[in-house]
Amino acid sequence: MQLIVNIFVLAAIYALISCGYVLIYRVSRVLNLAHGELMMLGAYLLMTTASLFSGNLLSAFAAALLLSLMVGVLVYVFLMRKLTGEMVLAAVLTTIALGILLRGLMVLIWSAQQQYPAQALRLSNPGIELFGGARISTFAAILVVTTAAIYAALFLFLRFGRWGMRMRAAGQNPLLAAQRGINLHAVYALAWSLSTLTGAIAGMLIALDSGLSSTMVIIGLKAFPAALVGGLDSLVGALAGSLIVAGAEVLLIHYVDPLLSDVVPFLVLIAMLVVRPWGLFGTREELDRV
């Protein structure tokens, strides 16, 4: 029973991180490999706003979220915008380089030590008893609920919102979108800011639950196989992929070998690339087939 709870929590973590990958990929075909570092940045921003607004929980969170949103816009405007029209691979390499740059900067600004935002905000993280003797920590539970809420909001936004439709249009046919008056730069900036926002939320909740350290980047990296397995441009796929990867990881760690934890997502990824490269729910693109 505890295993099932663990699977759900891990799946929620991966899902919340994955929707960031999906948002950017769907709109601009770029895989943002700096997402893990951006997650971590969100958590660090929370630490800073926590000390700025000491005591006022709401302001600290709101400020941190707002800052993360702005970081996303800035990353697009000052960096990724220069690469529109270039090869996708160049953009992906740029995100990798951005991740490295951010990592260095974060250590310089906040030091490499493990931090505990929960302590800084004077919040506690008690375990909650669930049926079947399973336990879940408060923040993990909050994370699961938040993930569900964010996914619901994103579904509604993309399906019914005006800018959501523009994002979908720009992702399917950027040239036509531009020819019909859709401002591509605005759409891309929106995608980046939403992605960074969801990533920051993920980072903050993970940090509140289990501390802020460089392992968060590894978690971020492990989540992109979940997105890919489900289909890089599908939110539904991200949910499915997260469940599959989380399930495989928890079960294999429990029954086979704990060392497997960091490699399982990539094994699942390889399996999916062999069988169905565009993922379970992804649009079948012009992937070269021999």
Binding site: T94, L108, F224, D257, F266, L267, L273, V274
Partner: protein
Amino acid sequence: MSKRMPRASGYFRTDYRQDFALVQTTLQRLSLAVLILLLIGYPFFASPFHLDLACQVFLAAVGSLSLMLLTGYAGQISLGHAGLLAAGAFTVGILFKEVAAPFWVTLPAAALVGGILGVVFGLPSLRLRGLYLAVSTLALHFVVVYLGAEYETKRGFSTGILVDPPQIGGHSLTDGRAWYFVLLFAAGATLLLCLNLLRSRTGRAWGAIRSHERVAEALGISIAGYKLLAFVISSAITAVAGALFAYYRGFVSVEAFSLFLSISYVAMIIVGGMGSLLGALLGAVFVTLFPYVIEAALLALPGSRRYAGEVFAVNYASFGLIMILFLIFEPLGLVGIWNRVQNYFLLWPFKHRPLAGSGK
């Protein structure tokens, strides 16, 4: 990729052998001779620290040349280079610890392991391109590193495997100068191998595949065969580089083969300039020496003792920054800059070369 015009005017090639030769004009021969003299003389007036730097550059060059073959010439993206280096290093480590194998067994074994892994890394390339291929190589890198970590923990070497230096007729290879020449030879041999590969049918096939796969296939070039060949050759060379790395450092451990190392090699070929062996060499020099330059610059700043602990982070950040700058502003790399400067002086007072194919 067209051949550059020999710089001397009045130079005419009159038979195929001349056209094919690597070194052609007198100026080229002279420059090569001077370069060789400098390289041979270097260890005799360099400090041990600088000798070590040169050795690191040569080691990096072997790896960057092989990656350039794969990505720059055959057009197959690989983000898993560190995994192949790890494979070579671990082959040496495992064979040394388990059966005390000497270097003339471990090095070929590393090449063999590299070649086999090359097939594994290369299989996705038969179905995927671009981003998805890069992602598959990334995944395989993690798998290889995991296997290495598994060996380390299961055999109790959790801090790493110590490896004795290679023995030749009773003499251990420990002298810095001796290593310099060994690694110089390794880098030179790799360069020669690459140059010859690229002049051959294989090199031309790779170029065709990189330009336009469908057309290459229609012309009868076996896409699958040549792609796999690119992976196998590149991986074998990389594994040998990893093996040499193991012997040089005397130490093998998974931590050394991180994602960052893979990215460093990718940075080498980007910063150096894709599609050119000279680019691979320049990139290897640049990326290897870069952290030392940054460290020296940092220490030259006032109040340097405060920053001493931050050197690693500063390295990281500036590496990311440099990579971004090159990707955005100078995608053709150092070779691109070099070509532009050369062209400016060669063509002055004209500004542009005639279009390719419009007659020499």
